[in-house]
Every structure is written in structure tokens, then in C-alpha cells.
């Protein structure tokens, strides 16, 4: 496996690889999102209690779980960059951070929009919303630290250490917030049991989820490509590429 992975440590090779990957990923993302969103928003049955406002769930839940997932992916990239000194891993972490922050923000906003009809208020200090908010702060911290350094290599390393510290802290923060929530307010929030979801709702949800994951993949690939070009702008192959594109 290492032999197979080795060539991708070269920026040029991984640039061309992402180039090849992009059309496939974007086509699949468009397909899944197209089917999933239309099915979920138009044809899936409305919830018997929450009515149509429930449909935001098809956006909210994928965004929320992807926001966590991207942070863990960032942590893995940061770890491999610190251990194996892979510069491209830094680039990928840098590419992921704003995407993760955006998805956290989407999860928060859709959560608030969902809360309005359900709880009658935009914001409630619910455990999951609170930990999502803190996750947003962690993302913003990583991005801010990344921007604060002039030297992108140093920035990547520093942001990587912060990401790893954050990933150790996320479970602790999550559990403490859960615990704090159960202490301070009773179970006013009814939990949406996932297993009890009917199949008519589950299928569009799964398709939406895959679609959003692919969308994240596409955005990260695009950003990763730009990061590679920005970091290797002095290299001859980048200059050739620029020249080729300008001649056309």
C-alpha cells in the first residue's frame, strides 16, 4: 500500500490525480444530490408531528455529521503531516478547514431554522447545538491561526498541532456539554430516534447524505488543487501549466 501511495506525495502527481478525480466526483455529487434533494423535499412523506418543517432534517443532519467528520479528517491529515512530514497533508488540512467551518455554520443555521417551528425559538441551549457552536469556534481558531502565519509551512504545522489538541478535546467538550445540558434543563427536547425512521424517509436521507459527502469531496478537491498551485507557484511544472492555459 505504501508503494502505491508514495507517488502522491509529489505535488504534481497529486495535482493531476485530483484533476482526474474531479469530473467523476462532481458528476456523482450532482446525481446524488439531484435525486436525493428532489425526493426528500418533494416526495418523501411529511412527518406526522412536525409536518413539512421536518424536511430541513435532510440538510441539517448531513451537514452536522459532515462537520464533525471533516474535523476528524483534518486531524488525520495533521497527524500524518506531523509524523511523516508530508507537506501535502498540510495543504489538504488547509483545504478542509473552511469547508468544515461552512458546514458547521450550515448545521447551526438549519438547526436554528428547525428550532423555530419546533421549540418556538431560534436558539435553545440544546446540547447538540451548543457543541456544534463550540466546534465552529474550534474551526475558526484553526483558520485564524493558519492565516496568522506568513510562512505557509509553519502555518500548516501550527494549525496541525491545534487540530490535534482540538480533536482530543472534542469528545471531552461534547460529553461535558451533554452533561451540563441534562443538569440545567430537563428533557424538554424530544429526541428524534433515527432507527424509528420509516424507510420512505430513510432512503432519501441516505441518498442526500451520500450526495453531501460527495459535494464536500468536490469542494475539498477544488481547494486542495488551489493550495497545491499556490504553494508550488515557483516550480517549473506550475509555470508550464499556467502558460498552457493562458495560450489557449
Amino acid at each position: 500500500m505504501w508503494k502505491w501511495l508514495h507517488p502522491y506525495a509529489n505535488p504534481e502527481v497529486s495535482y493531476h490525480f485530483t484533476n482526474k478525480l474531479l469530473p467523476w466526483l462532481s458528476a456523482l455529487a450532482a446525481l446524488f444530490l439531484g435525486i436525493g434533494l428532489v425526493w426528500a423535499l418533494l416526495f418523501a412523506p411529511a412527518d406526522y408531528q412536525q409536518g413539512h418543517s421536518f424536511r430541513i432534517f435532510y440538510v441539517h443532519v448531513p451537514a452536522a455529521s459532515l462537520s464533525m467528520g471533516i474535523y476528524f479528517a483534518m486531524a488525520i491529515a495533521a497527524f500524518s503531516s506531523l509524523v511523516w512530514q508530508l507537506k501535502l497533508a498540510d495543504a489538504s488540512a488547509a483545504a478542509m478547514a473552511p469547508v468544515g467551518a461552512a458546514f458547521t455554520a450550515i448545521a447551526l443555521i438549519t438547526g436554528a431554522a428547525w428550532g423555530k417551528p419546533m421549540w418556538g425559538t431560534w436558539w435553545i441551549w440544546d446540547a447538540r447545538l451548543t457543541s456544534e457552536l463550540i466546534l465552529l469556534f474550534l474551526y475558526l481558531g484553526v483558520i485564524a491561526l493558519h492565516n496568522a502565519f506568513e510562512d505557509k509551512n509553519l502555518a500548516g504545522k501550527a494549525a496541525g498541532i491545534l487540530t490535534l489538541v482540538g480533536v482530543i478535546n472534542i469528545p471531552i467538550i461534547k460529553y461535558s456539554v451533554d452533561w451540563w445540558n441534562t443538569l440545567h434543563q430537563g428533557s424538554t427536547v424530544s429526541k428524534l430516534g433515527k432507527p424509528s425512521m420509516s424507510l420512505d424517509m430513510l432512503w432519501p436521507f441516505i441518498i442526500c447524505f451520500i450526495g453531501f459527502s460527495l459535494l464536500v469531496g468536490v469542494i475539498i478537491c477544488l481547494r486542495f488543487r488551489n493550495e497545491i498551485l499556490a504553494r508550488n507557484s515557483i516550480r517549473p511544472w506550475v509555470r508550464e501549466l499556467v502558460q498552457q492555459n493562458t495560450v489557449k
Partner: protein, 251 residues
């Protein structure tokens, strides 16, 4: 400046004095190195008393602002006292964190420390311990007085002191990671708060809950145990992160 020179010199001279038969290849013992860094930091702090007093003053002033903003009713104040005291403690620690590595970074002694043969873990731990002695301990000493001002429930005084005793070292340890990451950046101050405050949330939650529980006359050993776990966890992990971060910052 002279102090830096002295301490660096003394680090170099000591092995030669103590272990004459084995010159220079035998480094200082771990305890010795720890004590040396600790003593040096404490001496520097004693010569800049402002650094000790100002965060403390900040702590006191923030806490006096709350009754002015909220109103003097004893009932309201005693209800929110644990939260206010702890949030003020977080902010005061945050203010004082800056001096943990900054001056050492400016005059180059930080780099010398990283280059020394001793494990960074140890030196960093000594510096953090010194920082806690300078900022955390005075905070703990003055907190009961402020609790009186805020009409904190009488049962909670013990909980307040215990949570501060276990919690402020966690603040210093986690904060050190943030400082180590931002020490090379010119405008690191605001950034530091963005990095560190989210990490402080668990301590805040469990500490205030312990104080609240104590006010009801219930046992709060569970919360204390969790804060202690946070303390030992950060004690064993944070210095590694600080060491790695310092290496990045000093490049």
C-alpha cells in the same frame, strides 16, 4: 538580560562543579533542571511585580462590574456568583498567559532552552508550574474574598477553593499550548483567546456545577474527580503539545 546570562551560565557551569569526573557529557539531573527553570521564572516574576498584580486587579475589577451591571440583589448575585468568578478567572488567566513565553522568545532564551539537552517536557512543565504559582495561586487566595462580595452561599466556599485549586492548573496547561502556538506571531493576543477559550469550556462547566451542587449541600466529589481527571490528562499531554508548538514557533 543579566539574569538570562546568569541562568544560562549556571546551567553550563553546574555539571562541571558537581560531576567533576565526567565533564559535560553528564547533563543536569532532571530535578535540578526543573528547579533551575522554576527558580529563574519566579525570580523574573518577582522583579516584574506588575505582571503578578495586574491580572489579579483585572479579576477583581471584572467581578465588581457584574453587580453594577446586574443589580445588587443578593439572591441574583449568589445564583450567578460561581459562573462570574470562574469566567473572570478564565479571562484573568488568559491575560497573564502572554508572558509565559513571550519575553523568553524575544531575548532568545527560549531557543537556548529548546537546544539544551534536557527534555522539553520538563522545562515546559517547570515554566507552566511557575506561571501557575504566579497567577493561579493569588487568584485562589483572593477568590473567597470576592465570593463574599457576591454573596456566594456559605456551603460553597470549600467547593470554590477546591475547584480553583484543581482547575487553574488546567487553565495554565491548556493555555500554554495556545501561547506556544502564537508566540511567534506579532498580534497573537486576540488570536490566543480564540484558540484557548473553547478548550476551557469543560473546566468551566464542571467547576461551576460543583459549586452549585455544594450550595445545595450535596456532595460534589464527582465533579471534583472529573476536574482532577482533566488536570492529570492535561498534565501528561499538554507539555508534549507545547514542546511541539514551540519548535514550530521558534522554527
Amino acid at each position: 538580560m543579566t539574569l538570562e546570562a546568569q541562568s544560562v551560565q549556571s546551567t553550563e557551569n553546574l555539571p562541571a562543579q558537581t560531576n567533576n569526573p565526567i565533564p559535560s557529557s553528564q547533563p543536569l539531573s532532571y530535578r535540578r533542571a526543573f528547579m533551575l527553570v522554576l527558580k529563574r521564572d519566579l525570580t523574573i516574576a518577582m522583579r516584574h511585580k506588575d505582571d503578578i498584580i495586574n491580572p489579579l486587579l483585572f479579576f477583581v475589577i471584572v467581578i465588581t462590574l457584574f453587580p453594577l451591571g446586574i443589580g445588587p440583589e443578593a439572591q441574583t448575585l449568589s445564583r450567578i456568583a460561581p459562573g462570574i468568578i470562574w469566567v473572570a478567572a478564565l479571562l484573568a488567566t488568559l491575560l497573564s498567559l502572554d508572558r509565559l513565553f513571550k519575553s523568553d522568545h524575544h531575548d532568545g532564551s527560549l531557543e537556548q532552552m529548546l537546544l539544551s539537552p534536557h527534555p522539553i517536557f520538563l522545562l515546559v512543565l517547570a515554566k507552566i508550574f511557575a506561571h501557575w504559582l504566579i497567577t493561579g495561586l493569588p487568584l485562589i487566595l483572593i477568590a473567597p474574598l470576592l465570593a463574599v462580595l457576591l454573596h456566594l452561599d456559605e456551603n460553597s466556599y470549600g467547593a470554590l477553593v477546591f475547584t480553583l485549586l484543581l482547575g487553574t492548573p488546567v487553565l495554565s496547561l491548556l493555555g500554554a499550548v495556545g501561547v506556544a502556538l502564537t508566540v511567534g506571531i506579532k498580534k497573537g493576543g486576540v488570536l490566543l483567546s480564540l484558540l484557548v477559550l473553547p478548550l476551557y469550556i469543560p473546566v468551566l462547566i464542571f467547576a461551576t456545577s460543583a459549586i452549585d451542587t455544594a450550595a445545595l449541600g450535596l456532595p460534589y466529589s464527582g465533579q471534583l474527580a472529573i476536574i482532577a481527571a482533566l488536570f492529570f490528562g492535561s498534565l501528561s499531554l499538554a507539555p508534549f503539545a507545547v514542546g511541539a508548538a514551540l519548535k514550530v514557533s521558534t522554527n
